[in-house]
């Protein structure tokens, strides 16, 4: 497997050339992803892989797309969506206008899940969902609103377990292998490229979701990103993380209260 010592110079070189700083990413995860990229690329040496990445900006984009983790599903962790539906959405309903940020949105399954939830609670018309990711290829997929039909059964089960009472299939049209989701949902979404490590806060939100993204960062970087979220959250706004993530060891912990027992959703104190 790729040696950690080979990764450090690669990361430095990438930062210098392309301005993407992976130095705060968790080493074991990065090592595993780079190793997989190396093996798939059929390189005969790490140096030759590094050369290609440095010399070819398009190939570098491909590298970024491969080393970021994009595994996601609709209504993943149904209990989380149930908690959103029962405890968080009713509070969002009291706002005249709802702004939500999906940070690290990957191929968009989480964003579409949220849109469906808002539609069913009669709030979609006054909401905007900002969806960002570092990986341009997954953003393009997310924008298309097209997902593999094969995944729909699992998503439908998740949806039902999360408290969804409607027909999940009403939200998409199936065609051969693809399910195209209702354009009325994506009309309320804005997709853009954003790097949590480098880019600044760009708006204030009542709800920020960043689920299973921070796990790929080392602790220090996790703290920095959480501070970015803190700056981007209105007072009394909500922050939602992945089921095994926590604010506990972060610099912002004291300013937040966990709002739903066992779910990783916090509310910012005034």
């Amino acid at each position: 497997m790729t040696d950690t010592r080979e990764i450090v110079p690669l990361v430095s070189a990438i930062s210098a050339r392309y301005g993407y700083d992976f130095s705060g990413y968790s080493k074991a995860s990065l090592r595993r992803r780079i190793d997989s990229f190396y093996v798939k690329g059929g390189f005969d040496s790490f140096a030759s892989m590094q050369e290609r990445i440095m010399a070819d900006p398009v190939y570098f984009q491909h590298f970024v797309e491969e080393i970021t983790v994009n595994v996601t599903e609709m209504f993943r962790d149904p209990d989380f969506y149930r908690a959103l539906r029962e405890s968080i959405v009713p509070v969002l309903a009291t706002y005249p206008f709802i702004r939500i940020w999906h940070a690290g949105c990957s191929t968009g399954e989480e964003v579409f899940s949220m849109a469906i939830l808002l539609k069913e609670t009669g709030l979609l018309h006054k909401s905007i969902l900002y969806a960002t990711d570092i990986n341009q290829a997954v953003l393009e997929k997310a924008k298309s609103g097209i997902f593999p039909v094969a995944a729909m059964q699992q998503y439908s089960e998740n949806y039902i377990r999360s408290g969804g009472k409607g027909e999940f299939s009403q939200y998409y049209t199936a065609n051969y292998n693809s399910a195209r989701f209702d354009g009325g949902l994506s009309k309320k979404m804005i997709f853009s490229n954003h790097n949590l490590v480098e880019d600044a806060s760009f708006n204030q939100f009542q709800l920020i979701l960043c689920r299973n993204v921070l796990i790929y960062f080392e602790k220090d970087l996790q703290g920095k990103v959480l501070q970015l979220f803190d700056k981007s959250l209105e007072s009394l706004g909500f922050l939602a993380l992945g089921s095994k993530e926590s604010l506990r060891f972060s610099p912002i912990n004291g300013d937040y209260q966990q709002v739903v027992n066992r779910e990783k959703i916090w509310r910012k104190n005034k």
Partner: protein, 197 residues
């Protein structure tokens, strides 16, 4: 069985298993010394439906602290960590562990191979990898990596294992250091803890 030498510099025990491993752990865990000095990571194939029941069940078999592994947790000597459902567990070189939600490996998440491979790379000679009963190939090939990095490999005796596929596969792929019944694995780990850490 390989000749026993004093193994020094051991820093982590990683145990992987699938079907039949609860029975194996029920034999193994009670044997562990209550002043066991190495951290232990247990990676069991588990569906999302099985939640904290597993931790409680295993906790009844040992006086050592046993808990679900937490993101960026620093592994403590003598504590036992359980890979959570639906996450891979990676081992960092600084003694912490990182969670990961990437694709399933051998249809599994947590995957034994992911943890063994990560631990082999981060702990090298400091790793003891144990493979228990199971019907899946997950982890068998990673035992080779453990050995390549100088770690110790232990496999549950296929004759005792409820499902011998996993241990047999590991033995077929490469020589393993020890093939032992579950309780004897516990005894060996005690020796490693006393002599080697």
């Amino acid at each position: 069985m390989a000749e026993e030498q004093i193994k020094t510099g051991l820093r982590l025990v990683c145990i992987g298993g699938s079907s039949g491993s609860l029975e194996a752990l029920s034999q193994l865990l009670p044997v562990l010394d209550n002043r066991f000095r190495l951290p232990v990571l247990i990676v069991l194939h588990r569906s999302n439906a099985m939640d904290n029941g597993l931790t409680t069940l295993l906790a009844s078999r040992t006086s050592l602290t046993i808990k679900e592994a937490e993101e960026k947790e620093l592994l403590q000597p003598g504590s036992i960590y359980l890979a959570p459902p639906d996450y891979h567990v990676l081992l960092e070189e600084d003694g912490t562990l990182s969670l990961d939600v990437s694709e399933k490996v051998h249809f599994s998440r947590p995957s034994i191979e992911v943890s063994f491979s990560s631990a082999a790379h981060s702990y090298k000679k400091g790793l003891v990898a144990v493979l228990l009963s199971g019907a899946n190939a997950d982890g068998a090939a990673a035992m080779i990596e453990v050995k390549n990095f100088g770690g110790v490999t232990i496999v549950q005796d296929p004759q005792e294992a409820l499902v011998d596929f996993m241990p047999l596969r590991a033995i077929q792929l490469a020589p393993v250091d020890y093939i032992l019944r579950a309780a004897d694995i516990g005894a060996l780990l005690n020796r490693f803890s006393k002599d080697g850490s």
